[in-house]
């Protein structure tokens, strides 16, 4: 690459000419940023190259469907959209229950391209939205880190973020989910906050509110912003860093931001009513009190001030107590204390598993394991502590924000694996700071000790602290360009070194001390090695771990690549060969895909807003055939779809998810008891399995005629022979099974003309427990009410 060469050549000659050098540095960093953006985009295209340009997984299909609707019908129809294809017979008000940011963004891009006569399909736009926004996110990271620690750190952090696996996992091409744009919005909001804090400009404060608005539009994670920023403000006040800049950074954000947030239908009055937003208002009050105190202090003499303080404190305390009592009473009156279930499970990690199985059943809501940290942020985990130390020397308003950000996000990522995504930018920023500062120290000490340019370095040294920022920047920039050309620094220079470096460096900076030449050269090489290791890992993660779209599976065997396209086969069949108004029941995981790909009405989907409805489906799946048929029939269901991986060894099938169906179903309908499905606490489907298990609908639909494939009925996922091999279905008939048996679709047989023995029927009804009996008694149409 030309850029690094010219820069190294240029630096000594232009050394004296500061303005030219700065201009050159500006151009250089612009091109480096451009390259970082290109890299962030292109590293996410592995999924398109290896598979195809297709929407991934589950939630993206819903977003895609919404975007299609928006592109077709326009924004007003979109706000008023009542979706009758899902949650039958309840339906769902889409316009009021989605975060519209992503959809509107992609819809706008599509509209813009089409008005320029570039006829890209909605799907293409959706597929590439996430990579585009990850380029934006890395630029936002640059801006944020630049505000905190200078350009060098900014570029390093941007490069790190561009390829951090945790973020790649949520933003590969095709992963069209809220997080794709939300991470950009998050970082950009933080940047504008820091920028306002550093400049005290009302212009940036306004922009900050707008960025916050975009974040609210995009993702429920906006509560992180509206809690983190108040925490930082509080921290500043407590540590005596109150200033008018702080006031300008915070007060407009709360007022404007809350007003704007309330405009988003899905948030609405929640912006002022729920406990998630409570902290921001409390801090808003405190900030005004503090500002008022500072103001009074300014106009009164110290003596008078003391008198005033005692007066105000005594009165103020009384008032505060009253207000807080009222607030507590209000909050306590709500069953969840004003918190949403997901927020509560963040504060109390055991909450969901105790009370809301539906949240706990989602794998991305589980706490992460240690290896997943290494997988998702890799060497950054070692660089983060060093970066935190670097933030403390010297501690400024902005660097304290970074410290606070990383501290809180580490906690959140420890609770939910999904929030690793919030942690990743923080880790990149701190690691970027750590890397750039240590590079700075090493290169400066090398420069200092090289005989050829010692005079120059002395001049440089003389400039000292005033020039340090710039010098750092330049030094880091050169490294930076090396990094980008060579794919970034080092490997195992390890945490120990890392930690030593910045701390020693901090001292060195103050005392103008340099490290020994050879040790700094070696450390530099080790750092580059560490960076190289990171790059290799990131590319591997992007190419292998996170590129699979999950609707198409591939397996490599000795005779080449084998493609399992069963999901789309089944959805395609449903789309073309069933009546357009038929209702399809499946576990909620497949709801979004069924509505989007098969265009059929589903009973439940991934927007798990109605626990009872999901529990009804769970109950049906866990019930014996006849009871299940009655439940499904009462829901107007015509087809039942199950996912079965036993033939090809696809592990995330319905049998493996079945215990959650039992749990969720049993949570609402107590006649479903989890122990009935477990033999001695063990979940098994072989001959040792309980009769309840072997007679439930899910078992039967999964293994119907399975034994005829190999004669034994060997399940490749559970690695066992199934318990009940030969059985017939009386109320369901198989209408479609995909090529690898991964999706099986059954049709409900029509009800019999003649009811044989009325007594028998009523008995079967009463045999189910009181809750079910009540439900079926209350009318066949709506048994779950």
């Amino acid at each position: 690459m030309a850029a690094p060469e010219t820069s190294t050549a240029a630096v000594p000659t232009l050394y004296t000419n500061n303005t030219l050098r700065n201009a050159f540095g500006g151009v250089l960093s612009f091109f480096i940023l451009l390259l970082i953006g290109v890299m962030a985009f292109s590293i996410r295209l592995f999924s398109v190259i290896k598979y195809e340009s297709v929407i991934h997984e589950f939630d993206p299909y819903f977003n895609y469907r919404v975007t299609q609707f928006l592109a077709k019908n326009g924004i007003y129809e979109f706000w008023n959209w009542f979706d009758d294809r899902t949650w039958y017979p309840l339906g769902r008000v889409i316009g009021g229950t989605v975060y519209p940011g992503l959809t509107l963004t992609a819809g706008t891009i599509w509209w813009l391209l089409n008005s320029l006569n570039i006829p890209l399909s909605v799907e293409t736009v959706c597929v590439f939205t996430a990579p585009i926004f990850s380029a934006f996110a890395s630029w936002a990271t640059f801006l944020l880190t630049k505000e905190v620690k200078g350009t060098g750190a900014g570029l390093t952090a941007a490069a790190l973020l561009a390829m951090v696996p945790s973020y790649i996992s949520r933003s590969v091409a095709g992963s069209y989910d809220n997080e794709a744009v939300a991470i950009f919005a998050l970082i950009f909001t933080f940047y504008l906050y820091i920028k306002t804090l550093n400049t005290g400009s009302l212009f940036y404060a306004t922009l900050n509110s707008i960025a916050y608005f975009y974040m609210v539009c995009s993702w429920g994670g906006y509560t992180f912003i509206i809690n983190l920023i108040p925490m930082h403000v509080l921290l500043c006040i407590v540590t005596g860093r109150f200033s008018s800049r702080l006031y300008i950074a915070y007060a407009p954000l709360v007022v404007l931001g809350t007003l704007l947030a309330a405009l988003v239908p899905v948030v609405g009055f929640n912006a002022v009513m729920t406990s998630e937003h409570f902290a921001s208002f409390l801090v808003f009050i405190i900030l005004h009190v503090v500002a008022f105190v500072y103001y009074i202090k300014g106009i009164l003499s110290p003596k008078m001030f003391k008198v005033a303080v005692t007066l105000v404190v005594s009165v103020g305390l009384a008032v505060c107590c009253a207000v807080i009592a009222v607030l507590i009473a209000l909050v306590a009156s709500s069953p969840t204390k004003g918190w949403s279930g997901r927020s509560l499970s963040l504060l109390d990690p055991t909450y969901a598993s105790k009370y809301i199985p539906i949240i706990a059943s989602v794998s991305e809501h589980q706490p992460p394991t240690w290896p997943s940290y290494f997988m998702d942020i890799n060497v950054l985990a070692f660089l983060v502590p060093a970066g935190i130390i670097a933030c403390f020397s010297p501690l400024s308003d902005s660097s304290s924000f970074v410290v606070l950000y990383i501290a809180t996000s580490v906690y959140f990522s420890g609770v939910m694996v999904r929030l690793m995504l919030v942690f990743a930018p923080a880790a990149c920023i701190t690691s970027g700071i750590a890397l750039s500062q240590s590079f700075d120290v090493f290169t400066r000490s090398i420069k200092f000790q090289l005989p050829g340019i010692s005079s120059n370095t002395e001049v440089d040294a003389a400039e000292t602290s005033s020039a340090t920022a710039e010098a750092q920047n330049d030094a880091v920039k050169t490294e930076k360009s090396e990094e980008t050309s060579k794919n970034r620094p080092s490997k195992k220079s390890k945490k120990k070194e890392k930690e030593e470096k910045p701390s020693t460096k901090a001292k060195a900076e103050k005392r103008l001390l340099a490290l020994p030449l050879d040790s700094s050269v070696i450390s530099l090489l080790l750092l580059i090695l560490l960076g190289a290791f990171y790059v290799v890992h990131c590319v591997w993660a992007a190419a292998e771990a996170y590129s699979a779209p999950s609707i198409v599976l591939t397996s490599r065997s000795h005779d080449g690549l084998h493609v399992f396209d069963d999901f789309r086969e089944a959805y395609g069949w449903l789309r073309h060969n069933t009546d357009v108004d038929d209702k399809v029941a499946s576990w909620w995981d497949y709801g979004y895909q069924t509505t989007a790909m098969a265009n059929r009405t589903v009973i439940v989907d991934n927007n798990t807003w109605n626990n009872t409805h999901i529990a009804t489906v769970g109950t049906a799946m866990s019930s014996p055939e006849k009871a299940a048929w009655e439940i499904f029939h009462s829901l107007d269901v015509k087809y039942v779809l199950v996912v079965f991986g036993g033939l090809v060894g696809y592990p995330s099938d319905d049998i493996n998810k079945f215990l959650w169906m039992v749990r969720i179903g049993g949570g609402v309908f107590p006649h479903i008891k989890e122990p009935d499905y477990l033999r001695d606490g063990q979940y098994r489907i072989d001959s040792q399995a309980t009769p309840t298990m072997l007679n439930c609908l899910m078992y039967k639909l999964s293994y119907y005629r399975f034994v005829e494939t190999d004669g034994k009925g060997f399940d490749r996922v559970r690695q066992t022979e199934i318990g009940k091999k030969h059985f017939k279905l009386t109320h369901f008939e198989e209408v479609f099974t995909t090529h690898h048996w991964m999706v099986r679709i059954y049709k409900l047989k029509p009800p019999k003309n003649r009811i044989r023995g009325k007594t028998k029927k009523s008995k079967s009804k009463t045999s189910s427990t009181s809750s079910r009996g009540k439900r079926s008694g209350s009318g066949k149409k709506n048994p779950w009410q």
Binding site: V54, L116, V552, G572, E734, F736
Partner: protein
């Protein structure tokens, strides 16, 4: 169903001589490839007896149709009909020996069809044998649908125009080929997975004709020996897969004798309900073809369960009539082929290319049973120089095939859209059969004025329609540079604006 039905005759009506005036038609046949097929015909007293004949001759000829009047003076001395029922497209080969028994020369010969058959009639072609023995060649004749004012029972006519008028006392031999689609009615209409598909075919044992037929025979070929029932019109006999009706002597005009054959036909019935082919010409050297299919299995509807285990373990007994794969014959040197549907790529396809043709074998996402549908898109690029030529009058023309590249499929409705490059003028299409035409405008990448699209629509197509058509247009190569120049100037303006912005001080304070 085995009892012979009584013969039914059309009401005979006295027909006066009909005055039909025809403008002189000059017709230019495009060259088509010859395919030679041996065919044994029954001996007859024809002066030119062709035991071996060429179909689809490549003769470009100019002929005149003179003013003439069809009359009952014509008679058919011998007629032989061979009906091929092996696939879902019913092919009828009709050999007529026509004799002019009247006094005036005539050059028009009428073919009659019952109205129910006309709806399913995809194409009618007529050939006349020429030359001496051994060196017989076949010349294609013009055939047009004709309305006659007093047709009995709604009979529809097609007129064959002879090149040379048939003089009094002369005779000539005509080879007529016509194809029916949707003429096999599945019975039972719904079958299970393991059952085989049985169909009805309805026709007449006697050839419907406005002329007196001295002698006629009809042969039917069924795909297998399994024939449930057939109508007997003596003499009728059946041997193997062939059934013979006749010979019948001296039948009056419009004699009709319905027959019904119930037989097994396990071939899948691929029917493309709608096909939209879009051919986009780029003068940068590429021809992009996009074909959108709505495919349906037109056979007996699938009933009840679909069991994968049966389908996979006993493929010979289960789903025999299911549609497992299709073969598309694409032009040679095809590149960037894709096969997908609205939810993404379909991975089950194979492309085989050689220097003369490309074959794309595609499997739908799931095997199609009777009544099941699937939609998909096939797209491919072709080198432009193979299909775009310059004509003598400085115009350019695209020479491309009209029909559906899938083998052995019926297309109910075909729309061919030829997207001409932006800036092309005076488009005109030349198609060897009648199509509905109109023009549209399409906006594609960075278009300003839009591209002219020549849209051609035709219903009820069979593979015979895969002949070439031409679209002529004028185009100035300078238009190719419009879009690059536009982009360049847009960027230029952007940079100028940037430079201007950096050099203008907009602040109020100094």
């Amino acid at each position: 169903m085995k009892q012979p039905r009584p013969m039914k005759t059309f009401v005979l009506q006295e027909q006066g001589p009909i005055e039909l005036t025809h403008a002189t038609i000059s017709y230019f046949f495009p060259k088509v490839e010859a395919s030679v097929k041996t065919h044994s015909s029954t001996p007859m007293e024809a002066p030119i007896r062709a035991t071996e004949f060429l179909r689809f001759t490549l003769l470009s000829l100019l002929f005149f149709v003179c003013r003439s009047s069809p009359s009952h003076d014509l008679l058919i001395s011998n007629a032989e009909r061979r009906i091929d029922l092996t696939s879902h497209i019913v092919k009828v080969y009709l050999t007529l020996k026509v004799e002019n028994a009247g006094s005036t020369p005539t050059s028009e010969i009428l073919l009659a069809f019952p109205p129910t058959q006309v709806d399913h009639l995809a194409t009618v072609e007529a050939l006349v044998t020429k030359g001496k023995r051994k060196k017989t060649t076949l010349a294609r004749l013009d055939v047009t649908p004709t309305e006659l004012p007093d047709a009995p029972n709604g009979t529809k006519y097609f007129t064959i125009y002879l090149t040379n008028p048939l003089n009094s006392g002369e005779s000539t031999t005509l080879e007529v080929l016509y194809l029916f689609t949707h003429s096999l009615e599945p019975f039972p209409a719904e079958i299970g997975q393991s059952e085989s598909q049985l169909v009805y075919y309805r026709d007449s044992a006697l050839i419907l004709s406005p002329y007196h037929i001295k002698q006629q025979t009809t042969f039917l070929k069924t795909p297998s020996t399994k024939v449930e029932s057939f109508t007997r019109v003596e003499p009728t006999n059946r041997a193997g897969t062939e059934m013979k009706y006749g010979p019948y002597e001296d039948r009056h005009p419009y004699t009709f004798s319905p027959i019904l054959i119930h037989f097994e036909n396990n071939s899948p019935f691929p029917v493309v309900e709608e096909l939209v082919r879009e051919v986009e010409i780029s003068h940068w050297g590429n021809l992009q073809v996009t074909e959108q299919y709505t495919l349906v299995h037109g056979g007996a509807r699938h009933k009840g369960v679909f069991s994968r285990v049966d389908y996979q373990s006993r493929p010979n007994m289960n789903g025999v009539s299911s549609l497992r794969y299709l073969l598309a014959r694409l032009p040679p040197r095809v590149h960037s082929v894709y096969y997908r549907d609205e939810i993404g790529n379909i991975s089950s396809s194979h492309l085989r290319t050689d220097s003369r043709k490309s074959e794309l074998e595609i499997e739908p996402r799931y095997p199609l049973f009777g009544g099941w549908k699937a939609t998909f898109v096939i797209g491919y690029g072709l080198p432009l120089q193979d299909f775009l030529f310059e004509s003598s009058d400085d115009r350019r023309y695209l020479n491309f095939t009209f029909g559906c590249p899938l083998l052995d499929t019926v297309v109910d409705k075909l729309t061919v859209k030829v997207v001409l490059p932006e800036g092309s003028k005076d488009p005109s299409a030349v198609v060897p059969f009648t199509v509905e035409q109109h023009l549209e405008t399409k906006y594609s990448y960075l278009d300003v004025v839009g591209r002219t699209v020549v849209v051609m629509e035709k219903k009820n197509l069979v593979p015979v329609h895969n002949s070439h058509f031409q679209v002529y247009y004028t185009f100035k190569p300078i238009f190719m540079l419009a879009e690059p120049l536009m982009l360049a100037s847009a960027f230029f303006l952007f940079f100028v604006a940037c430079v201007a912005y950096l050099h203008i001080d907009l602040s109020i304070r100094k």
